[in-house]
């Protein structure tokens, strides 16, 4: 089935359990798709890490490990970009309410750095609410194949 708005047939479209194993699986799946498209090893590592952070958010904060809730992972490869969409079935969150992890008073907090890292490691990061319930994040890494 074509991906939503760009008419691209995804390389992967799968439903994952709300477990930490799924986090590993999603990272490995995306890296498998992304290998051989001209992303160097360090950049691949960063993409994998961004996927890991987004999956952790979906499994832990979105679905709260609920075995009745799934995480949908969609990976699409186009000549100029790798797109990863991760959707949970949680109650959603307000991005503007998240504390700034770089603020002096938050530097020693134990958590809250996941989205900062995602933004640092991919070229584009979007978040949207989905109906009836859940959050979908989109991670895009632009490709420069052939230099």
């Amino acid at each position: 089935m074509p991906d939503n708005d760009r008419g691209v047939t995804p390389s992967v479209d799968t439903s994952l359990a709300s477990t930490l194993e799924s986090v590993d699986n999603a990272e490995e799946t995306v890296l498998r798709v992304a290998q051989g498209v001209g992303i160097d090893e360090e950049e691949l590592h960063k993409v994998g890490m961004a996927v890991r952070e987004a999956m952790v958010n979906a499994v832990v904060h979105g679905n709260r490990y609920n075995e009745n809730k799934k995480v949908r992972l969609v990976v699409s490869l186009e000549p100029d970009r790798l797109t990863v969409r991760i959707a949970d079935q949680g109650e959603g969150f307000d991005m503007s309410s998240l504390p700034d992890p770089l603020a002096e008073e938050n530097l020693l907090r134990q958590s809250g750095r996941g989205i900062l890292l995602i933004r640092a490691f991919v070229d584009r990061f979007d978040v949207r609410r989905i109906e009836p319930t859940g959050t979908e994040v989109t991670l895009i890494k632009y490709l420069s194949r052939g230099g």
Partner: protein, 114 residues
């Protein structure tokens, strides 16, 4: 591979050699338990050697911060040794490079505690 931690004493400094992954789940809990165990036993000078750590995620970073505050709050100090480029980059992105004292030479690092 999850994280593997081994500890050794160099004078009054406890060196933790870490290898593998410090990520959400087993890796981060192993790390947390080791730090708690050391502080409970009175170790106050801790040098964390991350030279063989291949992967740290935000949860792992959180554990580093937690370890730092735990040791500091008990009057001790925790310093980092042998950061890989990946870990160094992470600490810079998260601004934690300014929080941790980081060393590249173990002998100098050990001496810095006295």
């Amino acid at each position: 591979m999850s994280v593997k931690l081994s500890t050794r004493q160099v004078g009054d400094v406890t060196v933790i050699d870490a290898a593998g992954r410090i990520t959400l789940g087993e890796g981060s809990s192993t790390f947390r338990d080791t730090i708690r165990d050391l502080t409970n036993k009175g170790h106050r000078k801790i040098l964390l050697n991350l030279g063989e750590v291949s992967y740290i995620d935000s949860s792992g970073i959180g554990e580093l911060v937690s370890a730092f505050t735990t040791v500091t709050n008990q009057g001790g100090s925790l310093k980092l040794l042998n950061l890989t480029k990946r870990v160094r980059d992470l600490l810079q992105i998260t601004k934690l490079y300014t929080v941790f004292e980081v060393h590249d030479d173990e002998a100098l690092a050990v001496r810095s505690f006295s």
